[in-house]
Symmetry: D2
Subunit: 304 residues, 4 copies
């Protein structure tokens, strides 16, 4: 979930409520806040705590809430984790500490120490583009020895890594393996992954939910049809900005155009300016119509 | 300066005092805390504030205190900056926000916004190994338009970049240009840099101070003699660990062996264990004797 | 196909014949020589020409022969291409020139110039690990304007890239899109790719042929069963060496253990020494038995 | 030295003669052909052999001729080396084989095998931007055990690496250590390097020769004056193209503007087109005048 902001250190409270209801109404299995798309590491701790509280209160246990606690400082991750537990969150999500390029033995020891302090189950979050370091397979394997670690979100985009993670899962069939990039959601689920954490689900939650269901059911025709739509979104809405931030900016801008929430962004980013916003406004109606046609009168669970 | 720690979130207060006195006694021109060697991003904000206060109180304006405010979150950088100003620090040091790989225009706008909020002069800190993004020359050039930005510490190790920064300095002769890696200190000063921020000065402050002086005075023979010693330290004390953290671990371990301060490290790192500590203990006496011979009976300011 | 060698600049002629027959007997749709697994860029031009001739003569048009002409020097690529055409090869395969890190406009112009000189249809070969530069989507799109370019082998391992290539294929439905890494073969074909160029097919050709067929037919259960075996090979035979060359060395060593051909390698590589060879010998019987059980009494074309 | 070309596979013979005379007239200590700036890996072997022969014949032993034999194929490096020896060249220059990302033990064994086949002394050439792999310090140290390896040209731009190479040189005081990037020439020589291989010396040989002399003599004032001019060239002539090829294109274009030789380039590059050539024409007169003022009425060998 993106973090709706009204200003530099101010939540867009009404926008947040609308966004949560829209996403939940789309049928998602859970809500992940304070991840990369949520601009987690760019937000003050005060605002992160407020977001955790408001989100948990709004969701009211309708779906599990997963809270990102990734931080360069060990203690701040622990602090956030405790706050999340107190607010009623269900699980934590952790990418490697992202300032120092730590070695894998260092990362393994860090995990051992951190997991011992956490009050909730933990998902690992593999995001090497931003953290430089990734959870190497051997580190995953060791993490599986801890009952408190319950899954992995892999945003590396490296399907060879994902395949190796799938093989490792035989040791922990209770683990959940999620894919980050939505362009890979269909194939990740079709090869045995459990689901995805697609940023686009902020805008079109039903599309990704139905895609997941189709892929899980082995409904290849339906899965391809929905995947093609994911690729159209990826090929238009996400291509408007010039920097890697283009995806988050595109999603927030689309939500603003749809009247869901404000598109203010935390530094070092800035929302799209008039020219880019114009391009979002021009591509959005067609994308919306396409998605609505696709997800309408579809009986979930009954492959066509 | 390294951050002496007694435990996970506890300063080694006596060690900090001894360390500051040792470094100041070495004749340094300033003290930089909460940088990379200071494990700044790994420390809780509470501990960072305590370190700022204790350091400023101990230094008592004998030399300028520079405080690292690098953070993934804009607001937290501002918070630290205000705390540093209130504690009596003299300047701030900032590497790019290090979670998102922001584009240069994004980084430029971030700088514009942040500098407007800062109560003290700012040094830029180029550290691409850890932040992924660097201050590209065009971004440096634009930063020179702000009177509140007063210098650059370049830890890229890329002397071509340093040379281009030197050329840019013609527009802002009041800027200070410092080099990070101590292996490049002699040459950086000899080509016109103003000084360095060497981690090794925690252990052997006089060596680096005298090297800087010699290089500034164009005393090539003396400069080479001292530089050779810097390379001996780099080739032994810094080669003991297996990961990039080896340098900080080596420095902290040497300080512990010398009885200056505790070598506890913040996660994701761990101090050297017995085997590595043994190697530090074995190489330290000779390094210390070499340095003492070199810096003794040398008349600072009078090239030999 | 690997290149069987008897010495530094000498083909293992009998081994080559046995290897070709074994692979063709496995039911492959084509044979790709002088690629990465074929150590193409490490071989003298004389030996490359001899290999082209002998292979074409041995294959006798039973399947198409594709010849790698990747080279840092334009003229040498043209020379190889002409030789391949004269020897009766069917198509050419080209990764970007791999010494200079050329820009995409430079690569596009290079392609324009080179395609004009080629006597046979061309497949692009995306291999950024080795060539540094990849064919960016815009370069692919432009290459589709040339009727002489007929497909892409993508060895990037980046399925997001592969997905975008699949979308581009709508403009050229006659193109073939192949995947390099065999760990991704099942999913690449299941999402619409046309096949793969798996190095493991040197050793177990039927396994990869049947996997391709199953994935193409949408036979998910069979596809997963065969894919699991591909992952077992990848997790054992390819993990024995320490460097990226481990895969090629493992394949050549397995072929030598099976009595197919010599495992001599062109510099800068060296065949496995006794210790690693012992490990290959130990894992090979089980892998072979597993593969044979899997591919036996399977009726190709009739999903089980 | 750049390689003057008249067409895709044709030397500009008269241009080559003029260029050699111009460079030798500048007082250089040696001539390096078929390096990166010489587009070595982009040229056909036929043309490389012709260039070697013509250059050796033209130089007539006035200075040593060093010939680049870097190649992905071992045998082709040996072939070029033998041709160079037969033509009367003095030494060979070798970067690591640049297709496969070989490990250091593989690179060490490759060097052992290759040196055994070479008829002339060898300089190592560190160029990681183009070859991906570099000669790590341990590999340098091992290469020093061979009397046939006589030096290193370091084009990494990493002065920390250069400093470590300088320390290693204590084991082989007969080795020569040269720097690649001309922006680092002054400092590399001032810290103990023996010289440089600056591409700009194709255009302004006297400038770089005098800079080397000044830096060697410890003439800091003169060295800085000449270095500032090197930085002006680097900041104008080398900034005109958009890709890393901009430096070679700028040098070749300047030589064409000065009537020395043709600026045709081997694929994958293309000479500057009208717009960029216009910019070269506009900056060249001032650069030339500046250089001529600087190098005129200077008594070489007598520091001012």
């Amino acid at each position: 979930m993106v973090t709706p902001l009204r200003g530099r250190d101010e939540l867009d409270v009404e926008g947040l409520e609308r966004l949560i209801e829209r996403i939940l109404n789309g049928g998602v299995d859970g809500l992940f806040i304070l991840g990369t798309t949520g601009e987690g590491p760019s937000l003050s701790y005060r605002l992160r705590r407020e977001l955790i509280e408001r989100t948990c209160r709004q969701v009211r246990a309708r779906v599990p809430v997963l809270v990102g606690i990734t931080d360069a400082a060990f203690i701040e991750s622990v602090n956030l984790a405790r706050h999340a537990a107190a607010a009623g969150a269900d699980a934590l999500v952790l990418a490697p500490p992202f300032y120092f390029p730590e070695g894998q033995p260092e990362l393994q020891e860090y995990l051992d120490h951190l997991v011992a302090e956490l009050p909730l189950p933990l998902f690992l979050y593999n995001m090497p583009t931003n953290t430089k370091v990734q959870y190497e397979p051997e580190t995953l394997r060791r993490a599986m020895d801890s009952p408190h670690v319950v899954g992995l979100k892999d945003s590396s985009g490296d399907m060879n890594y994902f395949q190796h993670a799938l093989v490792l899962l035989k040791r922990r069939p209770d683990w959940s393996l999620f894919i980050g990039p939505e362009e890979l959601l269909a194939e990740a689920v079709s090869v045995g992954g459990h689901g995805g954490v697609p940023g686009g689900a902020n805008v079109f939650p039903k599309l990704y939910v139905q895609l997941c269901t189709a892929a899980r059911n082995g409904d290849v025709a339906r899965s391809r049809q929905l995947h093609d739509q994911v690729m159209r979104i990826s090929g238009s809405l996400y291509q408007i900005g010039r920097h890697p931030s283009a995806i988050i900016k595109g999603i927030k801008c689309a939500l603003a155009c749809l009247g869901i929430c404000n598109d203010f962004m935390a530094e070092p980013f800035h929302r799209f300016r008039a020219e880019e916003r114009g391009r979002v406004e021009r591509c959005l109606p067609e994308l919306t119509a396409q998605v609505e046609r696709l997800v309408a009168n579809h009986q979930p669970g009954f492959p066509q």
